[in-house]
Symmetry: C2
Subunit: 343 residues, 2 copies
């Protein structure tokens, strides 16, 4: 399999007996060219299997037709769904998506900023992670357009596509309370993340609405990963049954799953002994036993819109208002009234 030199515009021009500029004009029809010559060029392109060198094109055009997408981890299905949405929007416009997964073992900050500055991407879509590191965002935003997904930075006025986490959180918490639970605990996300704040705020609203002092319910901060869900559940459920919470409100599904796994491990039944709810509504959550009650975020759509917003930003310099996407409660089997009735 010998790979020969790829044909360039000059080759095409020679083959079609025209000048390179003419070739360029017909390729992006950006100039007038007579039909016969146009056909000659098109023929030459076909027989030589010419395809333009995008590096050269990008150099001249000062744009890369490429966007970056930083995702904390792909194995989290929520991120995977968002990524698919981004990909779809980009693919429709012939824009490439380069994947950036900040490796924990190195400083991603400088790397990401450098990426943007090197003009290999025109803009970036940023999914904030399981940790908190808005520092790199500042770097990024300073040197190119950035659109946030499911995150907002108080200081900056970055465009962001988010959904109404607060409302979703309020509703799912209200559902738990409506079942009669009075001793509840919250397994929250990393306090530095906007989503964690929003969801907690929603929970507190619902709790207050049920006539309970929000400050009286324990709130533990997890990291949105399964392991922390299990660890925090253990911590919360350690006490005697009489004072132990009867419901766990988890700020995402992964932590809810961890909590459920812990319950199973120590012989607590879900939902009879303890009710659990999550957030995100991962596809797998409906497959669990019990099927997890959660709050669905339109992940795919969020990714799609974020990409669309980024393209608007790149083309028109301004992104259309993005609005607030809905977050809808999915009622399933992981919530039941507390055994002893209201306490």
């Amino acid at each position: 399999m010998t790979r020969r030199r790829r044909p360039t515009m000059k080759d095409v021009a020679q083959h079609a007996r025209v000048s390179v500029s003419t070739v360029s004009y017909v390729l992006n029809d950006s100039g007038p060219v007579a039909p016969d010559r146009r056909n000659r060029v098109l023929d030459a392109v076909r027989v030589l299997e010419y395809s333009p060198n995008e590096s050269a094109r990008n150099l001249k055009r000062r744009s890369a037709s490429t966007i970056g997408m930083v995702v904390p981890e792909l194995t989290n299905q929520f991120f995977a769904m968002v990524a698919e949405g981004v990909q779809r929007a980009a693919s429709a416009r012939d824009v490439l998506v380069v994947l950036v997964v900040p490796d924990a073992t190195e400083q991603p900050e400088e790397k990401q900023a450098k990426l943007l500055r090197s003009q290999r991407v025109d803009g970036v879509i940023y999914l904030s992670g399981t940790g908190s590191m808005p520092a790199s965002i500042y770097e990024l935003a300073r040197s190119g357009p950035v659109v946030l997904v499911d995150e907002q930075i108080p200081g900056l006025e970055l465009p962001a596509v988010v959904c109404d986490s607060r409302k979703g959180a309020r509703e799912v918490a209200a559902h738990v309370l409506a079942q009669g639970h009075r001793r509840i605990a919250v397994i929250g996300g990393p306090p530095a993340l906007w989503t964690a704040q929003q969801r907690l705020a929603g929970y507190r609203e619902a709790i207050a609405g049920a006539g309970i002092d929000p400050d009286s319910v324990p709130v533990l901060a997890g990291d949105y990963r399964q392991g922390s869900g299990a660890a925090l559940a253990q911590q919360i459920l350690a006490g005697p049954a009489a004072t132990r919470p009867t419901a766990l409100i988890c700020a995402n599904d992964l932590m809810a799953i961890g909590a459920i796994e812990h319950c199973k491990a120590v012989g607590l039944r879900v939902p009879q002994d303890v009710s659990v709810v999550g957030f995100d509504d991962l596809p797998l959550s409906a497959l669990l036993t019990p099927r997890l009650t959660s709050v669905r975020q339109p992940a795919h759509d969020m990714g799609f819109r974020a990409a669309t917003a980024l393209f608007d930003l790149l083309e028109n310099g301004e992104s259309g208002s993005i609005g607030l996407l809905p977050a809808t409660v999915q009622l399933r089997d992981s919530v039941a009234p507390p055994l002893g009735g209201a306490s």
Copy 2:
């Protein structure tokens, strides 16, 4: 937020009072330059926040420091894990990964080939999908290096990182048979895919090894997706209990999950009424009830090795032999002896 023109090498050269070539020499230390001048350049780079224009660099170098990765869908955790492995290997070498998800709504073939020909990527890592379309592979391989993951094309001699699907399949089927099952059925993958063929071959070996005629067990072809698992399970389990298979061997976890969901829907208990095994050992499979017995593929590692092989190919022109990765059976709760004993 006004974005000013990015500094170029010329700016750096002027600021450091040297020539552009000197700047280039110090930046990739490819030439001798006196210490003081070197420092002047480095300083200038720092104060101007210079970072090289990769498009220009790529144009000159005839390489993009970028690879493409085509994955059928990201929401499949197996692919997500492979993708993470690829990303990690690439990131370690400062290579970018562009994500290509062949959209079902358009012809991906020409698009992928064009991508490679446009020199925006140096090579491609190809994860074969839920369908079968080796046609695009030929196009791809003709114009650039390609490494396959979990797939092999009989005709071509493409480098591929695969694991011993056949052995894994044989062992998991043997386990099922060892429990006493005699009426079994196979829900296979798309017959055109190498993995489907390998796994089926492994199953048949085990079946023959148990003294059963492999041709007597029904084999239905699915598409590796959950839906087809459910549909085929319905088809298989439709008959009366006396003749209905007591074990379903599924060629991947997603279809196994679909099958289990169908069983639940029609009131069949797993594993008491019907045993089910999968393949891939997705993280979620251990969370199901019953926990799914499956065959683990080292997905992350496969991605990592594939990327490494591609880099070898690009640098040395030859990829080190890749070997066969292990596929190990994970015994869990979805298999039990058949109710009536051996039939």
